[in-house]
Amino acid sequence: MNEEKETQLSGEESLKLISEMIGKAKRSYITKGIASIVWGILIVVCSLLTWAQVQYQFHLGFDVWLLVLVAVIPQIFFSIKEKRQKTFVGHDEITMRFVWTTFGICIFILSFYSSRFHTDDITSLFMMMYGIPTFITGGIFKFKPMILGGVICWGLSVGSMYTPLSTDMLFMAACGLFAWLLPGIILWNRYKKNQACNV
């Protein structure tokens, strides 16, 4: 777009340009979904290992859920890397940051509660919590897999009130799969497809 060549735009051309630019900006919103994939894998693995320990009566020698703390490191690394590469800030980014920070703090408090009172009976609450940011994120970005993931978390949360701990862990693995892992893979594929289109 050079000033020298700039001609008076017709009504149609102006509207077409506006819509084209808004479309370009929207396509820039596509994230890689790496955080979603990392956390999805983590929840699925930790839940299945916990289920296996209860089901087959063995102990790994450490609390597998401590892996969650290990995942925070790559999460911070990828977030900083992504932030450095980004050349714009979206309207909903700050809202999202607050939603997921709130979620992280609440999960930490819930874990602390569980540890303090030595109770494993709060898996339903964890699943309910998983559904909240997932549903909000899906709703704000009109991303159906995450909306569905949030609803599945809540459904499994209710279901887990009637099942033993070992089954709860399978439910929790399903939460990780449907709320984060699968939506993350869909986001990653979209990102790759979008990149291929831009080449």
Binding site: M1, N2, E3, E6, K24, F88, G90
Partner: protein, 97 residues
């Protein structure tokens, strides 16, 4: 009676920049350059015109020793953009007024 189109916005590159900025909270100069496929010089001139009109805020800063220009649409810019789109729609669909 047709509304007059805002001459500041009725220019290809300035309209493209405003359309991008209305879609995001803020954007770097490089983002605008890439999306509009414009030259740095031309984009810089058009950004200054939008800034002088009070339609955008421009902040210059350093990030890791690299100069960074961040543009953000202002309230006045949003109002002007909305008015421009309304005026365009009235041109396109005069019976719909």
């Amino acid at each position: 009676m047709f509304k007059e189109l805002d001459p500041i916005l009725h220019s290809q590159l300035r309209l493209a920049v405003m359309s991008l900025l209305i879609s995001v909270k803020e954007a770097e100069f490089t983002f605008l350059k890439e999306k509009t496929n414009s030259t740095a010089g031309n984009l810089s001139v058009q950004i200054n015109k939008l800034k002088d009109a009070g339609y955008i805020d421009v902040t210059k800063q350093f990030n890791n020793n690299y100069p960074q220009t961040i543009c953000k649409i202002t309230r006045k810019g949003i109002d002007a953009f909305e008015e421009y789109v309304k005026a365009l729609q009235s041109y396109m669909n005069p019976n719909g007024q």
